[in-house]
Symmetry: D2
Subunit: 356 residues, 4 copies
């Protein structure tokens, strides 16, 4: 941290700041400039209340030097975090393609979609049972019944489940069914929820808030990591800007920036970052070309009948075409998309041995 | 809602859309233009899944005609909502000035500030016991102990208490102490929390999210109102833009826009909307001049020692000066700032009757 | 400027940076931190290419300490700039209210509006003869004929004229008629135009670009000032954000921020910053309450017939009401709005002496 | 256009609006809803002043149905515009890679860079001779001398020249040397400049303004196109948002959105859209994967010595590596990057015939 003194600061002002810095157990290093003086503060300032300095007489402002996050930073862990989730690996050379409907709506829709996305090459299944909706009058999700349908789809296809949790008290319930707890954009700074997800030790897919800076995004991850839960996947899903041609603005820059700053895996959600199925495939390709570790895509067998976000959902055949494109783009940047996961071995229906 | 057909839409496409509209129990009204056809949809579409139409063949898009909120709208309730909270009135000709520290830190700080702001003319006391903080390493508030100090300050000064609640399971605890439940900007779309606050039937001060549109802000209020809880105060507290000279950008336009759209009282928080004590007084004056029903201001007896947000806190004497200015500005726009609330009558220490 | 070294920077990297700094005639001051080293650079860096340092090995980034503008800064000129323009004074205790139509449309409209705004208390007259329009198919202004009508309106009312200039080669023409050259938001970084306006030595009303930071705004003023032209008025007119309820977002914070950073007069244009006549009066009041030196308001005798921006224009009677409100608000913050300017003395129409 | 009536509109109000619509030579089609009435306006409204309707009694607002641009729209010209520029083709299957320094600085730098980028596979050469700079104290470019060096580089390498023009009166000069006139982001709504470039009939590379919507971007192109100049290349170069980790936010969504709305070629400038050389290659790859017709990249032989924007410039060898990547990504989306352009045949130096 550097403390910038104003041009009118007196030597007493400077001495007072230096004394306060030393009183915090830090070291002050004074640089006398032609126009103004700057005081470099040496030591671990993460636990110090920095604002106290901004209010001292003669101080113009402070400039942080280090980024505020630690456990998520590459300076702390230089190598990519690679971790397994229920038979698939996140963060390694294999790209992770997660797909499924926005909401779980019924058994047929869920199983049909799960099989379709598995065959197309998806490695994990998404689907919302608890839905945060802007309007209290909109469909809010099937709740636990939806979780049960997701679990059945996992049984049938072998795909691990990613599903959203919207309140701290729901973490145990959702964790009972889900392989990955999704924390949505609106809850990125719901710290009670982040803490509960951290304590669960369940893998977490954390979406960036629509107005969150990259620093804030990594600080939110830090909440989860600080509970010893290291399996955090970061998901860019578009930010809010002045442009209204698309629902959000995909911050594609965030992909290489995050890969530079953090060791955590980074994926992109082009369904939400564009809000329009026509733009999902180009932006999914862009994400992989920019270095993302995967994508999460909304797929619905009958988008115009979807109870939520149908307008941004791909049909299964279009999704299959996209997976083929991602495989080629992936190869161009040294990544692979493995073929469809084999169906789980179903327990043989053993006929009752006939006695006698 | 208007459904805009693309220039290539066929008469079959149009007929299909009309049929779907009618199947939803609505009426379709077709307007044939020179370039394209538009289908007007008549009926209550709030509970209809509109996206189904965007995906039908030949449809280019939909244009909503009505705003999505209802209970909060002036069309539903034309007159200003005016309601009492513990001896003060919100939404009427009297401006409501709420003041106090960002965080409750200790008993002396809290009582000292409470007395100072009461004398200066504040009508309610703010102070955070549960603090949402970007960093897990920052001070997170005193919790219930802080609530007890707030209650003691109310006893001493007669000022009702406004304090933040950060998780649904904390609503009963905070409601036990607080007169008004504050829902912070980061939780504006924490729907579980909005529902819990709505059910509590406690007055709610709802802050606008830093990237929330005015429509989303009113939809969040709608969550609270839909539980029959009518005492909602809206608080503009700055939005996030490209400008970095101030912590946030005060959306002063939101004051007259909200007063136009909704009957709910609207106040402004210049401490957060500027993030700098130097700009708090000018922006508080601007809020009143623009028609706000009040302001909420951070005041700290010793800002440079504050555990949070000291940089945006006013000292008590500067706050007292601001109240004097607001009284004059208020008069210019037909509002009043009453003098300091009288101290509550303390139970007389009745001397033991002497026998004999 | 501080040069921040990365955590892996070697002592050679540091030595190289120091050598480069010294080679530029500056002084380097090295602060060795626990995690990283920071090099303070002492000397006038305004003419140094700072980016050269960001690319040196071991450098993580640079942090500017001083603001980049000079002639416009309060550090350079501590007292408010107050200057006369054709009989009125800008930047002093008298608030400057500028009013008139968006575009000059015809003689009757122009003269009628000029008289109406003068009587209501406007001190200067606005009106566009050259109009920058998003669409090539929209009305682009009357050109020189419009300038002549403005000059006639000045003759009739005594009000000085503020009108926009949109290209460097038009500066001499516009300066022939106008008392103040307006440079519009879209041209805030049209440096050829800024230079031409600076060279003209004519007073300049410079509008902030819709996405310009305050630093960039002051740097644009610096272009004009660097030609020795000191009469620059800064005009906040709304910035572009995600909010669409109003055409732009009034950055009311910019008023006290600019008053803090610069000695130049600062006014606000609530017509463009809201885009809706209903919000013009509240936001004009807010501007004065926040410390602005004046406002510029669109007034049209028949807004629904206006050729441009009718939707944000006040009718003359509503404008007169606003001036009365601004007078009261102004008094509350120590400013005055003088009564209507007296009409200029018309040369007496001397009747020809009748012979005989 | 739809005219939305307020809920309190009377039948007289509706009749008045209908009469005004008919008076403009348009047809009105009234849709009576349960809550409010909507009036569909049929006819060409591009030349009608729409705001007149917003101010009529009983009108709540208007909703445009058609996009405002015409000549640039796919509805007007369905097929991609493909056009040749000095031996290369823009908008066809061949990707266009334009590269070169931010500024022309001297002869050696320019020729060295030109040869390096040609060998790496660039098809055109960029370099600024006139530089718009935020600060009047920064290097403003070499002017005509820079244009001469660019022309010499074209002679030597055969690469067509793209260079910026910053004022209408400079168009003839720049057009004398350049193959493509670049109009920079700051000048996207400098309409005098757009008109001059349109009239020149020279190919134009138009950069999107940092806060321009896609509609405004296409309306700016419309200014050039309306002069009969059809050779316009659109260039996304990043927009301004709240995120500060990169200089701008690359609006990657704009690539497929523009390809959907317009027939004009669309390229991306990852140097400006990121502002950091480390992110240029990933974002260039993303652009091609998303469907861009090319990229424009800053390359400098010695970035740390560059007079402008060195921090975002690639070294030639890194650029060559990027071209190899773009060739592979391009193939994945059906595009090609041809090998290096052959050097132009130099006129043989004929030795003087010796007499005698």
């Amino acid at each position: 941290m550097m403390i910038i003194m104003s041009t009118e600061a007196s030597s007493d002002h400077i001495a007072n700041v230096v004394a306060r810095v030393e009183a915090e157990g830090l070291h002050a290093h004074v640089v006398y400039g032609e126009e103004r003086t700057v005081i470099g503060v040496v030591g671990d300032i993460r636990f110090v209340n920095r604002e106290q300095f901004t209010l001292m007489q003669g101080v113009q402002g402070i400039v942080p030097i280090s980024r505020p996050f630690k456990l998520s930073s590459r300076e702390f862990i230089p190598n990519d975090s690679v971790f397994p989730i229920d038979g698939i690996t996140i963060g390694g050379p294999e790209l992770v393609i997660i797909a499924g409907p926005c909401s779980v709506e019924d058994r047929v829709q869920m199983l049909e979609t799960a099989h379709a996305v598995r065959e197309a090459g998806a490695r994990a299944l998404r689907g919302g049972a608890f839905k945060p909706r802007s309007s209290p009058y909109s469909f809010q999700g099937m709740g636990e019944e939806g979780l049960e349908l997701l679990a059945e789809a996992r049984e049938a296809t072998g795909l691990p489940i990613v599903t959203e949790v919207v309140a701290p008290e729901l973490v145990p319930l959702v964790a009972k069914y889900a392989d990955v707890l999704q924390i949505g954009a609106r809850n990125m700074q719901n710290f009670a929820l982040l803490n509960a997800a951290g304590e669960s030790q369940h893998p977490v897919l954390l979406k960036r808030g629509i107005a969150a800076t990259i620093d804030e995004f990594l600080m939110a991850a830090e909440y989860v990591l600080s509970h010893g839960n290291r399996r955090v996947i970061l998901c860019e899903r578009g930010i809010r800007t002045f442009e209204t041609s698309t629902r959000n603005t995909t911050d594609i820059n965030a992909i290489p920036v995050l890969k530079n700053l953090t060791h955590l895996p980074v994926i992109l959600d082009p369904s939400h970052s564009t809000g329009n199925w026509q733009y999902v495939s180009p932006i999914a390709r862009a994400a992989i070309a920019a270095g993302a570790d995967g994508v999460i895509i909304e797929v619905h067998p009958n988008p115009e009948r979807a109870l939520s976000d149908g307008g941004q959902s791909l049909k299964p055949e279009r999704f299959a075409e996209l997976v083929r494109q991602l495989r080629v783009i992936g190869e161009a940047v040294g990544r692979t998309v493995p073929p469809a996961k084999p169906l789980p071995v179903q327990p043989a229906i053993v006929s009752q041995p006939v006695e006698g």
